[in-house]
């Protein structure tokens, strides 16, 4: 039996990757600055442990990195691709959307693309419009991709392992503001892709969120509890596949659904969940997300795009009212 250890979200990912690379010689990692541990320390020690052939420092060539990873995968490797921030992954959109996501299907099952593309999301320290986006809905829209959004160190350990084992291209979205968050990590805990976690139980309404939105939702639930509103908070953990069963069961019981995400609200993935629940259960639904503006640099502007527990609580009250 393994004893849980206290790790940061970044350390948990490094541990998962290290263990997976030890167990499977086909796994390689490639991206910019990996030899120095990655921008956020999420690869710390790996190049020293596995060598420059398996932890590959690359030129700043996002299309080249993702394209090369597709080729590596088709030729029998399992690449972990670092995109630095999701905003830069847009330079590799053909490679992920037209190539990685399509190959297995359009080649009639010949060849698979078991790659994990790590694309850190979210607002982080005044990083402004091109380093702060949450674009998970873009990728959730895309057949052929799996989309994973860990919110805790334990999940970043367990979900990264699950992503590596899935055998299909996974868009793996770590939130930049979570890198330093610490928590217990038990290496014996496995998490299946597509299984949500109930982070707080409640009977008044269901709040569904993921990534950084989970802690904002839990803070909102605290505010609501003081007023006698018992919010159930579900962490979706992966957006594709998303755990319909868990969400439906909870919303059927509470009779109300609120979806919370840091991404822009318009055409966000919250719309998909809210629509699905409304269609199937006919319960009232609501959404909280950022206004449709670029993330501003100055603090008051950045604040406009951040999830506010107070605003989440307000939306919950409206649903319960």
């Amino acid at each position: 039996m393994s004893a849980p250890q206290t790790l940061s979200y970044a350390q948990a990912a490094a541990l998962a990757l290290s263990e997976a690379m030890t167990a499977d010689a086909r796994i390689v990692a490639l991206g910019e600055d990996l030899g120095r541990g990655g921008v956020f320390g999420q690869y710390r020690g790996l190049q020293q442990a596995f060598g420059i052939e398996r932890v590959i420092d690359t030129p700043i060539s996002e299309a080249g990195i993702m394209g090369a990873a597709v080729g590596m995968a088709l030729a029998g490797l399992k690449p972990v691709v670092e995109m630095r921030v999701i905003d830069f992954a847009l330079c590799a959109i053909d490679e992920i959307v037209n190539q990685a996501a399509k190959n297995r299907f359009m080649f009639g099952g010949q060849g698979r693309v078991p790659l994990v593309a790590r694309m850190p999301i979210g607002i982080w320290g005044a990083s402004a419009a091109q380093h702060s986006q949450s674009l998970e809905a873009w990728f959730a829209h895309m057949p052929g991709l799996l989309v994973v959004t860990p919110s805790t160190p334990q999940d970043n350990y367990s979900l990264l392992k699950a992503a590596l084992a899935s055998g299909d291209p996974v868009v793996y979205l770590e939130h930049k503001e979570l890198w330093g968050e610490t928590g217990p990590v038990d290496t014996a805990i496995g998490v299946e892709l597509g299984r949500a976690a109930v982070r707080r139980e409640g009977s008044s309404l269901t709040i569904v969120s993921w990534s950084r939105g989970v802690s904002a939702s839990l803070q909102a639930a605290e505010l609501l509890a003081a007023e006698g509103i018992a919010a159930e908070v579900i962490d979706l953990r992966s957006l594709w596949p998303w755990d319909r069963e868990a969400v439906m069961a909870s919303a059927a019981r509470t009779g109300r659904l609120l979806v919370v995400h840091e991404a822009v609200r318009v055409a966000g993935f919250g719309a998909e969940i809210a629509a699905t629940v409304a269609e199937e259960l006919r319960v009232p639904v609501g959404r909280v997300g950022a206004p449709r503006v670029p993330v501003g640099y100055a603090q008051p502007l950045e604040q406009v795009s951040r999830l506010q527990p107070v605003a989440i609580a307000q939306a919950a009250r409206r649903l319960c009212g």
Binding site: R54, A63, G64, E95, Q99, G108, Q110
Partner: protein, 339 residues
């Protein structure tokens, strides 16, 4: 340079002839389906539907380069990739079935002409996006190096691709990691319907490769003997661990951008001149000069056309994919862990 033995030239001619016959038949089967390029839609739907990009007139490049590849060598191709795929050894009948969209196709009818792949012969896929195969090829070559294989990668692309970013990123990548890849620019001198020359700054493809310290050769891509010799030299260097090389083969696209495009935007005199030096004609003349009996050459052509006709008959009789195939090979996470 010594001329290759007649037997080798006959083998190259046979490959080129099979490509020509395959594409001629596919072209005929693709007519009449849609209203485009001045053609009106007919009541009789085309048997080969969708964009069909023909490499007619470019066969020498595919045949001669692939002559130097082993079965375990890898290949990436383009939207104009029937020739490369056939020359690498893919099954002609399965390819025809794929064009017909049948379940018996190389891709089970799920890809069509632009996405033909045959992993069994190392053919990692044609590509509907210009230049997209270049970084993929670099990555596959990277995998070969990591795996300690002595197989190599051949990466075909067209002249239009050299103006896309992945050309720079993929070539730089291959040189930085000294990867076993032969880049082949099959230069048919036209990007869809626009001549490539005026759209391309500087001294062109080979010079762009040399600027990245990748040795490059330029050859007459219509002369199968020249391509054979140059490809032989470059493949040997790549296989010896010398890192990437680039072959720039200048040829001419005899047909339009797609099969239903008559290419009316081109000067008829230019096309007439091109027909004088098209690769099958040149190879035929050379064989005759080598003393090969004309009847032998005609026999090869007859055989190729018969093989293609038989493949079409198989395709016509083959079943369509069933609807459940639309849901297969998307992702399997819900079905369990894949190893």
């Amino acid at each position: 340079m010594n001329a290759p033995p007649t037997e080798r030239l006959l083998a190259l001619f046979r490959t080129m002839m099979r490509i020509r016959a395959f594409e001629d038949a596919a072209e005929a089967a693709s007519q009449g389906g849609v209203q485009a390029f001045g053609q009106s839609a007919s009541a009789q739907p085309a048997r080969v539907r969708g964009p069909l990009h023909l490499s007619t007139g470019q066969e020498a490049v595919a045949a001669a380069v692939c002559m130097h590849l082993r079965r375990d060598d890898l290949l990436t191709s383009t939207h104009r990739g029937h020739g490369h795929t056939l020359a690498k050894g893919a099954d002609l009948t399965a390819m025809m079935c794929e064009l017909y969209g049948r379940a018996t196709g190389t891709n089970k009818g799920k890809g069509g002409s632009m996405h033909i792949a045959d992993f069994g012969v190392g053919m990692l896929g044609a590509n509907g996006v210009v230049a997209a195969g270049i970084p993929i090829a670099a990555g596959a070559a990277h995998a070969l190096k990591i795996q300690g294989s002595n197989a190599i990668m051949a990466c075909f692309f067209g002249d239009g691709a050299v103006n896309r970013g992945p050309f720079l990123e993929g070539l730089n990548w291959a040189r930085v990691y000294q990867l076993p890849v032969l880049f082949v620019c099959e230069d048919n001198r036209i990007s869809a319907t626009t001549p490539t020359g005026p759209m391309t700054a500087g001294a062109g493809t080979a010079e762009r490769a040399r600027s990245l310290d990748i040795a490059a050769e330029t050859v007459d891509g219509n002369d199968v003997v020249s391509v054979d010799a140059a490809a032989g030299r470059l493949v040997e260097q790549v296989r010896a661990g010398g890192g990437p090389r680039l072959l720039h083969a200048i040829t001419y696209r005899l047909k339009g951008h797609v099969s239903i495009d008559p290419g009316a935007y081109r000067d008829p005199a230019e096309v007439a001149r091109a027909l004088e030096s098209e690769p099958l004609r040149l190879a035929r003349e050379r064989l005759l000069a080598d003393g090969v009996d004309g009847a032998v050459i005609e026999g090869i052509e007859r055989e190729a056309r018969a093989e293609v006709a038989a493949a079409q008959a198989v395709a016509e009789a083959s079943p369509w994919p069933t609807e459940d195939e639309a849901f297969r090979d998307v992702t399997t996470v819900a079905e369990g862990v894949w190893q």
